[in-house]
């Protein structure tokens, strides 16, 4: 790659466009690697275009599948399966171990969503619908039971406080000359 880049840079310089820095810059750009042919292009309509696109993206023809041509702007970019990097083998010797990716591999359109720190599509022990039903069922059951608990609260039985000496008649400022009204707190 470095050799190809250097050759392109030397060719650009030898064309003699401008002088000094203005000649150097196009040369540098030429040496940066990747040409216009490597960029995504329009949706492949013929089998030959599909084969060329597959080769461009470093894929086998049978694996290559573009996005549907619905005017969304995907062009010939391959539609890779929506699987996160977390699902990939942790013990394989990847070129980029943190990304679990080899050099030259086609990147998913939403690759930034499927890195190991983001969305994880690893299979779970239960299906998505079962998990949803169980979790929301549990939360719903708890909400219902809390509602029932509010309707039938728990408390210790209480009664009005009972005082001796005819409800503390004298202490409450009752007339000592008069006979107090007899207060019966309980009967046995």
């Amino acid at each position: 790659m470095a050799g190809v880049g250097f050759r392109r840079w030397a060719q650009a310089l030898s064309r003699g466009k401008g002088s000094g820095l203005s000649a150097l810059l196009p040369g540098c750009r030429a040496a940066s690697g990747g040409s216009k042919a490597d960029l995504p292009s329009s949706y492949p309509l013929t089998p030959e275009a599909k084969a060329a696109a597959a080769k461009k993206y470093n894929m086998r023809v049978e694996d290559y599948k573009p996005y549907p041509n619905q005017g969304e702007g995907y062009g010939d970019y391959p539609k890779l399966p929506d699987k996160s990097q977390q699902e990939r083998d942790p013990w394989y010797q990847w070129d980029h171990p943190d990304l679990r990716r080899n050099w030259g591999e086609p990147m998913h359109w939403n690759f930034d969503m499927f890195t190991r720190n983001r969305v994880d599509t690893s299979p779970s022990s239960m299906s998505w619908s079962s998990m949803c039903k169980t979790m929301f069922g549990f939360i719903g059951f708890m909400m219902f039971m809390f509602y029932v608990g509010e309707q039938f609260p728990s408390y210790q039985p209480v009664a009005p406080k009972q005082y001796p000496y005819n409800n503390l008649y004298l202490e409450n400022g009752g007339d000592p000359e008069k006979a107090p009204e007899e207060v019966v707190n309980y009967k046995i």
Partner: protein, 612 residues
Amino acid sequence: MFFPASVLTSTLIITLFLLTYPLVLSLFSAPLKSSWATTHVKPAVKGAFFVSLLPLILFINFGMEQVVSTWTWSHTLTFDMSVSFKFDHYSLIFTPVALYVTWSILEFATWYMQDDPHMNRFFKYLLIFLIAMIVLVTADNLFQLFIGWEGVGIMSFLLIGWWSGRADANTNPRRHPSHNRVGDIGLIFALAWMATNMNSWELQQIFVALKGFNVTPPVLGLIIAAAGKSAQFGLHPWLPSAMEGPTPVSALLHSSTMVVAGIFLLIRMSPMIEKSPAALTLCLCLGALTSMFTACCALTHNDLKKVIAFSTASQLGLMMVTIGLNQPHLAFLHICMHAFFKAMLFLCSGSIIHSLGGEQDIRKMGALHRQTPWTSSCFIVGTLALTGMPFLSGFFSKDAIIEAMTTSYLNTWALVLTLFATAFTAIYSVRLIYFVLMPNPRSMTITPIGEANPQVLNPLKRLVWGSIFAGLWFTLGINPLKIPVMSMPPTIKLTALLVTIAGLLIALWFISPSGARIQTTLFPTPHHFTSMLGYYPTLVHRMTPKLSLMWGQTAADQTIDQNWLEEIGPKATATLSKPLITITSEMQQGRMKTHLLFFFLGLTLMCSMIIY
């Protein structure tokens, strides 16, 4: 003996100064020595602890409390913000407790992190966290509390992701700020409500001016904030994920100090919360659900640190229940007791994991009571204190909470869930003791088992004294702020003990030969439910980021690029102009039909103008 009020302020300012001095010194001095953590940080925290005992003694003996307002941040006509400290019942008791626990953890960390090349930075982070925590608990205004709140959150994030070379240690810390941020929205809403309605963030002014206001909206914001910080149900997954960090971080932040910040906020704002019965009920129900759910999760997990993390979440749920009972002082008592035995449990787990060469699965431990007798004994004392064994520290707070629950007028289901959680606490505690310490060794044969290092044993011994006697000291020395119910039937009085004993007996039956025949695979669905945390992290952590990132990509790519910048911009001009151009150019073809049409149209128009 007369002590002027300035003694209280001076000692607490000295405490803060002792903690900030090593940090400030590290900014100006030459590259730190490798022993800086041992020679500067640990002695600073130890000194700060002993200095903070004086205000505690003054408070216990003379009831001395103080509010200190110093420098003014902002002074407008209607709104003042100043640096103010509240040295009251809560801050004067919590500060020495936090410093005592931190001192023990720092001493343990000098052994645990001795091979780490950035140990000094680690201790610096812990010190910054401690200062932020003390700022939080001593704050007399909500703005200062918010500064401490965010400070502890940031340091927690940095410390959880300490081992950033591992992908899991990179990923899991991100759960913590994402869940906390949801809670912070609630706190900011409450701050905004108080600023607009009460014109102040000073706690005294807020509590005085409550009359006539519907305080439910800001209190709900505070409850959301507490739910985020204290890992209540719905915002709880970050706590077990936080176990990716080093064990000293788990011991200090995620058991004793940071996680209780949410509960502490509710304790501070309890005069406001008690004005809203709906908020109290919400706290009660949320706390009960959290307590029971996380206790269930602890029953089926096999990672030692994760089980202790779930246990922490369960106790935090219990504290939230206590807030819902309008007993903030009991919640505070449980915060203090919990700090001792939970920190000790984490330090024991760190020692055990290190001794077994990094093994964290309890199924691969066993028979450690012979090889690490001190660690095993402390572990057993800690788990017994956790279950509420009579007259250990946990008993004084937990039993009081259950008594308050059973004698209160409250939601029955919340009471049932809490009692279940208490029983489950006993079950998973016995399970831990059985798997970790007894009966047969299931670990690798050659492991660096040993506990002869005083840096390991001294912190454990210090914390075990606290786990045994702290409850008695606190209840004898400090009067409760509310009078508890004194008379109740014996069954109600013994409820907590009976439920704990029931849990112990169930656990003992399971580990007996007859109970061991029951296989978990007979009940795969409940086992999956609890071992996967109720499927909550799987569903929420996959669905929410996927939807938001997909919508973001669609919005940026198709909505903005294709629609606004293409379809509605340049392409819209062409799309709208094209029909007009087509019609106009059609008319200019020179056809006889077109000429005749326009002739007769013009004639009709002229005739109608003449006639009418």
